[in-house]
Symmetry: C2
Subunit: 344 residues, 2 copies
């Protein structure tokens, strides 16, 4: 028993192959009688179109690729999910490729995507500098939308590629202003390396807040690190254990925050009196910690949705006039973990 093809349907309905195809696709040139007969036959036989064959013919696979470094990262997962939902509604399937930040995997995935004729790609390269991944993707000819990264050839704010960006700079600046307003003069920013846009932008916003307040930039301590919890813990211990320790900390809300909080606890620093802590990203950990951690929040879902929308726009071909990029806002959620520094 083989699969039921459109041929079988045509035969059962007593019409030609072409007519069956047109009828099934709601084409304009079919008589009511044929449309009815074909639909009936299809239903009766339980016909299901073969997308592979269709794709081969139409040169469109109906699939979108998603190239991301770490799907399991809670700061990405929501984005992927939202994008998938929107794309599925539009009839596309989402193919994911986790790259673990390895350029070789990125290249391989890009080639794979091309070979599979994916119609479009959502991508967050592990490093902005990785031109090759980029070119590989673009070489496919299908539209590419960037997730919160700068394109290799984009000079900061003028890349020609559609992208959904999060205003990490504005967020970091607002957070830093807030802490400065509270009276802090030595603040540390704990963030993963500056290789990628989010980190870079945060550092820029962080430093800008010091500059605009006319403060000694030496008080703006940038500690870049990998996002491993243990490393963050050791690093935070060293930072907080020193004699001239910062009075406030801004930490990425994943494992880095976890490590920092552990370090504070190890050193018997009580929040917010001995130390103010602010989380970048509003995670469960930040919300439920005692005291609850003041956090920078942005919508992961909006990133995914906006990216899907941008891509669909291109796919439909009306991307010419429309906006090519979106900048999503970051809000400061005030909670209990920040206060004026203790007088010394």
């Amino acid at each position: 028993m083989g699969r039921i093809t459109i041929r079988d349907v045509a035969q059962a309905a007593g019409v030609s192959l072409g007519s069956a195809s047109r009828a099934l696709n709601g084409g304009k040139h079919v008589s009511a009688r044929i449309a009815r007969d074909v639909a009936a036959a299809a239903k009766q036989l339980g016909y299901e179109p073969d997308f592979l064959a269709r794709s081969l013919r139409t040169r469109s696979s109906g699939m979108i690729g998603c190239l991301v470094s770490d799907v399991a990262n809670p700061l990405y997962a929501g984005t992927v999910q939202a994008a998938e939902a929107r794309l599925r509604d539009a009839g596309y399937l989402l193919v994911i490729a986790n790259t673990a930040n390895e350029p070789a995997r990125e290249r391989a995935a890009a080639a794979e995507f091309r070979g599979r004729r994916l119609d479009g790609v959502l991508v967050a390269p592990g490093s902005d500098a990785n031109n090759e991944t980029w070119r590989g993707l673009v070489a496919g000819g299908s539209p590419v939308v960037i997730l919160d990264r700068d394109a290799p050839d984009g000079d900061g704010d003028d890349s020609p590629w559609p992208a959904v960006l999060v205003d990490h700079r504005g967020g970091a600046q607002a957070a830093t202003r807030y802490l400065i307003g509270l009276g802090h003069r030595r603040i540390a920013l704990l963030t993963p390396g500056a290789r990628m846009r989010p980190g870079r932008e945060r550092i820029a916003g962080f430093q800008a807040a010091f500059t605009e307040a006319g403060l000694d930039p030496a008080g703006a301590i940038v500690s870049t690190q990998e996002s491993s919890m243990d490393f963050a813990h050791g690093d935070a211990l060293a930072l907080l254990g020193g004699s001239n320790r910062p009075t406030a900390l801004i930490a990425l809300g994943t494992r880095i925050l976890a490590g920092a909080l552990r370090a504070a606890r190890d050193l018997n620093l009580s929040l917010p009196n001995d130390l103010s802590v602010l989380s970048v990203g509003d995670t469960d950990l930040a919300a439920v910690h005692a005291p609850a951690i003041t956090a920078l929040r942005w919508s992961l879902e909006d990133v995914g949705r906006a990216a899907a929308e941008l891509l669909l726009q291109r796919l439909r071909g009306d991307g010419a006039g429309a906006a090519t990029r979106a900048l999503l806002p970051v809000d400061l959620v005030l909670r209990e973990s920040c206060a004026a520094p203790a007088k010394t």
Copy 2:
């Protein structure tokens, strides 16, 4: 400028289409000269095979579907990631479909998968009872591996379908034993509904521990709920605010744990003296909380890896003799959040 086909390569190498195909696929019946020439021509032209066309011919898409209710759930994400890694190594692409527990979406995804000729499926249906999703998947004829769910027609432990199961029952039983050993007689289990295997198994293990200890089963309080943090919070407040409140809590380590911890804090219950808390799932939150939360831990990655392995086995056709299901262990990680109940 069109895409370079295998035809072009054959022509450039001065051989026939068939020879080029054989050479490219490392077939056994090609002379060294042809193999070399074809490889050279392919490289020189930058030939990339078209998977779509190949799939149409071979009736194998080289893609695996992953049907899951919520990719953004940290308790799933790691599994998906690990599965993707293993499958990619084997040359497959992972297609994800997020179903948000909606049966309609599950059905739609199953149909879509069939139409796209996916070679296999990894699935964690939103509800075990949903036969239809199940049949739809199986109807495709391609192998299906279940992720920590009971198949609709499986009677608990005897389903014929390959599956990767986590020993939630054993874990819950061990955790409950531990708390009972500490002296607790009133313990609450906070878990999402019993619609799905993990919840059901935990409840079974929880109650079994009471039974084997010869304790009054009335002390085993099962509170099933959705995993929304706010609901869990309200529920936990009611539970802990009552006169005859439990002295220990076992909570699923996602938002439910977060809600419970907030509730404990709201009620000024200090851990572990006033209340012992045990997390099901070893999340960042559990590890970094003060005091650190004793937790049940299992490897998400192992689930994904094992599932991928099981599927690949079937795909290779040697699934006949091999094990059809895996039961992964759950460990109890002792930390600081549990102690003997206060004397009253």
